[in-house]
């Protein structure tokens, strides 16, 4: 197993509320890793800390053997981690193609001077960015909407577009925050195929999801969070039978 991401004792508090405490996990290269837990368990907080949107109070992330910068989202993306959002966040006034092209920003170099003079390097880069963005739209299956302003896309297509935009940053780890939320059964099946394809193409996936069927069918390993603490980590079939997990989800044991 080659370690891709290692989270070490991550802790995050908001005032008196402990959102995460001592969360440690290791994601191997090439796997689909699930992060599940009841509402308010700290899954999205974990994402925000990982991607630099929040600064953790304790602990650190090691990505590819290098410690990730804290509180600098663009450097995290540059290191190779891309994310999507639970509530879709696209760039509303841009077309689908332009959204994906914007995602390629971090991998392009053209300077203002290069743009002003439209030198050879800039023109070539612009052409490659456009081509690549179109290929990514094809990859997620919405290339026919390339010139559609993204807010006019259907819900499922917007989710796909967000994944395409995240892929445009050329990540090694793709962090998906509830990608199946609000999708119907057909859309979820298609999404599952897409995530499997992404994994097959060499991108490791970190998945937050509520859809238990999707998680169980897709993930190689899972971590379960409850009240900011890790209560289980294992392969899906084992996690399913874990008492603490069942209690957390069904409110059994002392809470009942």
């Amino acid at each position: 197993m080659i370690k891709l991401l290692e989270a070490r004792n991550i802790g995050k508090r908001f005032g008196g509320l402990t959102a995460l405490s001592e969360v440690s996990l290791t994601i191997a290269k090439g796997e689909v890793y699930g992060l599940i837990g009841p509402n308010g368990a700290g899954k999205t907080t974990f994402f925000n800390v990982l991607t630099g949107a929040y600064i953790p109070d304790e602990g650190e992330f090691v990505f590819n053997g290098i410690e990730l910068p804290v509180g600098k989202p663009h450097l995290v993306v540059e290191a190779g981690i891309a994310r999507t959002f639970q509530n879709i966040r696209l760039f509303g006034q841009m077309t689908a193609l332009e959204n994906v092209m914007a995602g390629h920003h971090i991998r392009t170099k053209a300077s203002v001077w290069g743009i002003l003079t439209q030198n050879k390097h800039t023109r070539e880069e612009e052409r490659l960015t456009t081509e690549r963005a179109y290929e990514l739209l094809k990859y997620v299956g919405i290339e026919r909407f390339a010139d559609t302003v993204c807010k006019n896309l259907s819900y499922g297509d917007q989710r796909r577009l967000e994944i395409a935009r995240a892929l445009a940053t050329e990540p090694q780890l793709l962090a998906l925050d509830e990608p199946a939320a609000g999708m119907n059964a057909t859309e979820t099946t298609q999404l599952k195929a897409l995530i499997e394809q992404i994994r097959h193409d060499g991108v490791t996936v970190l998945l937050i999801e509520h859809d238990v069927k999707l998680v169980m069918g897709l993930c190689d390993r899972l971590t379960v969070l409850d009240f900011g603490k890790k209560i289980a980590e294992d392969v899906p079939s084992v996690v399913q039978k874990n008492e603490a997990v069942i209690n957390a989800y069904l409110g059994g044991g002392k809470h009942a």
């Binding site: 991607t51 630099g52 949107a53 989202p73 663009h74 995290v76 993306v77 540059e78 891309a82 994310r83 959002f85 966040r89 696209l90 760039f91 509303g92 006034q93 841009m94 077309t95 193609l97 332009e98 092209m101 914007a102 995602g103 390629h104 920003h105 971090i106 392009t108 053209a110 203002v112 743009i115 002003l116 439209q118 800039t122 880069e125 612009e126 052409r127 960015t129 456009t130 081509e131 963005a133 179109y134 390339a146 010139d147 935009r165 995240a166 445009a168 940053t169």
Partner: protein
């Protein structure tokens, strides 16, 4: 240019090529037609071109990057005063045109960065208030820096600025060939026109580039922009400084054209006027800024020439001063605009990419 052509009703969609030629021809013959109504009108056109540059620069900050800037005129002031300091009898230095203009642009860009740093974390209303304050600070400095050391000559302003001298050719002098005289206002017009066209080309290139897309991304959703690796700090500073550069160049041109600068040319009302041009024309699109600047510069002047005689014939005396009428009609126009066409005269359908770059064989 293409956007301007497209904006022409009817013709723009049907025959883009003809529309484009129409725009070029109008731009070229406008001063000649204006001269038939008197020299003032050519002067007004010259000013309209300066305002176009300002509107284009502000549109870059407000329309593309989504940073509401109410103190934009400060950069205009920086450009104009740079010209006044470096090319007038005030300090007794007379730098040549090609040195002063870039310096003015540079200083304005610097001022843009100075303004940019403290406001990096602000958005919307808060940003507007701080930039408004910045604009006023610059004006008040210009107004009061005449004591203890006289730097700006205070409220009196600085007189007798050098005129533009393009490599030995003085734009302020009329050219006489035989009996035929070409007025200097024409030279200014075509020179300013060239500057505006240059600005448009530059801004259009910026718009369809990684920088333009990053700005648009930041404007539409800052958090998501960060999450795809856009360094919002650097891009905001870039937007402020590039926008300011246009203001600085326009300011320098204004100073030398007018031959006189004083703090009262750079009041808050001017900032608001430029912002109105951008909003009126259509935020986030180049054609909108150009049309907005043209209409809002020319309309008050037309009004001034019509309102007085009309009132005199109708009532025998002037009831409403044209200046009052101007504010009245302007506000009315803005209110109607917000109700009927909230996107501006030419609503933005700005493009940030060239989809045609995708290989023709790939597309289905």
């Amino acid at each position: 240019m293409d956007q301007l052509a497209e904006a022409i009703p009817y013709l723009g969609k049907r025959n883009p090529k003809a529309a484009r030629w129409l725009v070029i021809i109008i731009a070229l013959v406008a001063p000649i037609i204006a001269m038939m109504f008197g020299r003032t009108w050519v002067r007004i056109l010259d000013f309209a071109l300066l305002y176009m540059m300002l509107a284009l620069g502000l549109n870059l900050v407000v329309g593309f990057a989504g940073l509401l800037d109410l103190g934009y005129i400060a950069f205009y002031a920086v450009g104009a005063y740079t010209w006044a300091f470096l090319a007038s009898p005030h300090f007794g230095v007379h730098f040549p045109f090609w040195a002063v203009l870039p310096l003015g642009a540079g200083f304005a860009a610097l001022a843009g960065i100075i303004l940019g740093f403290p406001v990096l974390r602000l958005r919307g209303d808060y940003l507007a208030i701080v930039t408004l304050g910045f604009g006023e600070i610059v004006r008040i400095f210009m107004n009061n820096l005449n004591y203890p050391v006289n730097i700006t000559n205070g409220p009196q302003g600085i007189n007798a600025l050098d005129s533009m001298n393009l490599f030995g050719w003085d734009l302020a002098k009329s050219l006489t060939i035989g009996d035929f005289q070409i007025h200097s206002l024409y030279f200014y017009y075509y020179f300013f026109l060239a500057c505006v066209v240059g600005s448009i080309i530059f801004i259009q290139r910026l718009q369809i580039s990684r920088v333009g897309r990053a700005w648009a991304a930041m404007r539409d959703d800052e958090l998501a922009a960060k999450a795809i690796g856009i360094n919002t700090r650097n891009l905001k500073l870039l937007a402020f400084s590039l926008g300011a550069t246009f203001g600085g160049v326009a300011g320098g041109l204004f100073g030398s054209f007018q031959g006189f600068v004083s703090p009262e040319s750079f009041s808050l009302m001017e900032s608001i006027a430029v912002l109105t041009m951008v909003v009126f024309g259509g935020m986030g699109n180049i054609a909108g800024a150009v049309i907005g600047a043209l209409i809002l510069t020319a309309l008050p002047e037309i009004l001034r020439n019509i309102a007085v005689p009309v009132q005199e014939t109708l009532f025998g005396h002037v009831i409403l001063d044209p200046e009052v009428l101007r504010m009245l009609l302007l506000s009315l126009a803005m209110i109607l605009m917000m109700l009927l066409r909230p996107g501006g005269l030419i609503p933005a359908h700005a493009r940030y990419s060239r989809p045609e770059l995708v290989g023709k064989g790939v597309r289905t």
